[in-house]
């Protein structure tokens, strides 16, 4: 067994614009969003409790990224409300960062400087220590001084997740984090992410169009319709933990996957 990393956060970053204290539930109710005349989100209700991983499954172009942008506070909803612990979301915050589709790192900075960005922006003195720990946890210690373009796609993807985790957010919004990777690499990354999220008890809303990924990572599944998106169904996924490659052959997983896939294809 590899060395287990401490589950204790190195430090708790508190600074202006951050809500210190207990992690809170994210709630979105009746969220609707259009771009001009294009109705993207019709009516979305979703909540993520502390430590929970909610998978949102939906066809391409249905508005998954749009939903995440609204939840992250990057764009206001046309209707409905988005709240964290009862407080309305008004703009982006390091407490609920979103890792964008296609993983954005600052291309002019080394990997280490990219990961240090968040803690330094919040005036966290432990930036160096936090980043060392994250580099280790992501298996990227050897590449700390490389520029993003010198990393492989999978490394970039992990780096982008590590970048926002450096602020130790209670809630993480992930937009198809492993969509562009080959199947084996994706499975490795999924196992890595499952371990990381469990260790840090980070609540996560994971958007994907991959049924297997949704079932493997989610504690709960929300299935969205085609555009304009509504929630078609909600499923509790009580598969045994810890999940990983063995889960894929679990009869309950196989059955569930067939079930969901049929409904996705029939939709």
């Amino acid at each position: 067994m590899g060395r287990r990393l401490s589950t204790e956060p190195v430090t708790t970053a508190v600074s202006e614009g951050r809500t210190a204290g207990a992690p809170a539930t994210l709630t979105a109710a009746g969220v609707a969003k259009s771009y001009g005349t294009l109705r993207v989100l019709a009516q979305i209700d979703v909540s993520v409790a502390p430590g929970e991983v909610v998978a949102v499954l939906g066809p391409s172009g249905c508005g998954k990224s749009t939903l995440l942008r609204v939840l992250a506070g990057l764009e206001p909803p046309d209707r409905g409300r988005v709240e964290i612990g009862g407080q309305p979301v008004r703009g982006p915050s390091p407490d609920r960062p979103m890792v964008v589709q296609g993983a954005t790192l600052f291309p002019w900075l080394t990997l280490r400087a990219n990961l240090e960005w968040g803690p330094k922006a919040l005036g966290n003195r432990q930036a160096g220590a936090i980043v060392d720990e994250l580099l280790e946890a992501t298996g990227l210690s050897g590449s700390a001084d490389l520029l993003p373009r010198q990393l492989s796609g999978g490394m970039r993807q992990r780096a982008a997740i590590a970048q926002v985790l450096a602020n130790q957010p209670p809630l993480l919004l992930l937009d198809e984090p492993f969509g562009a990777l080959d199947a084996q690499t994706r499975l490795r990354m999924q196992e890595w992410l499952i371990g990381l999220l469990a260790e840090r008890r980070t609540a996560t809303l994971l958007v994907t169009h991959d049924v297997e990924e949704a079932l493997l990572l989610g504690h709960r599944l929300l299935r969205l319709s085609h555009r304009p998106a509504t929630v078609l169904e909600e499923l509790a996924l009580d598969l045994p933990s810890p999940r990983g490659r063995s889960t894929l052959s679990d009869p309950r997983f196989v059955h569930l996957k067939g079930d969901v896939l049929t409904r996705v294809l029939d939709a």
Binding site: R3, L122, G153, G154
Partner: protein, 293 residues
Amino acid sequence: MALREVEGGAGLDLGEVLGPSSEIATRRRLSGWRRAVVGLALPAVLLTAWSVLSATGILSGRLLPAPADLARSFRDFVVAPQREAVPGVVPFRGAAAEHIRASVGLWTGAYVIALCVGLPLGLALGLSRWTAAAVDPLFQALRSVPITAWLPIGLVWFGLGSGAGRFLVFVGAVSPIVVATADSTARVPRQLVDTARMLGTRPRDLARRVYLPAALPGIVTGLRLGLTLGWTTVIVGELTGVSRGLGAMMFAAREVSRLDQIIVGMATFAIIGLTGDILLRAASRPLTRWADA
């Protein structure tokens, strides 16, 4: 978990598991000396042809002096002992340092002002739709006025002398700086800005921490264009009655039909402009290397 097992257990580098970095495409550049040889080949061929045409008399010295004659004039310009200064006469022999100092002084002085005005204005235009909407039409209209057309008004405003010259060089240098800065700032990917905000960057720090570095490769292109355009405007700036400067020397040479001296002036312009561009590029390279293909 399993991932970390693999790493911890076998001491495997993830880079190897996920694909070797050697596969990352990097476009090859010609090495320094190779580029120099290739770059000098064409001028060398032309120079040889020119010498042959002049020596055989096919090319009249009245149209284009022979390379050897030009070399002699150039040497006179640079190293010959200076004659006593005569008021109202623009010197040539041994006067290179004097003229170059005047022209380069005009150039750099105006360029620094162009930087101080152009960078903030370009950033403001690229960052704020309101500023762009308010300023852009006027700026584009002014930009369409030919640089030489600014000469008369420059003379009225600043009188004869280097003030008007500096104004003209400023006009020449500032617009590429503004256009390139505004354009590359406006093109900074939204995702970079969003990511910075979600990492806790304060909105007022975004210009300095995100927009400026992300736009820098494009800005540097504008700085180079502005530097060169400013330099080519120096000669217009020296139509303002100054008695020192490469342009002043060339106009004086034209009055007495010294084609060799005119060409020496052109060559000096070329050498100094090229040197300036090389220096600026070298100075900016460490800042923009990340964007190299």
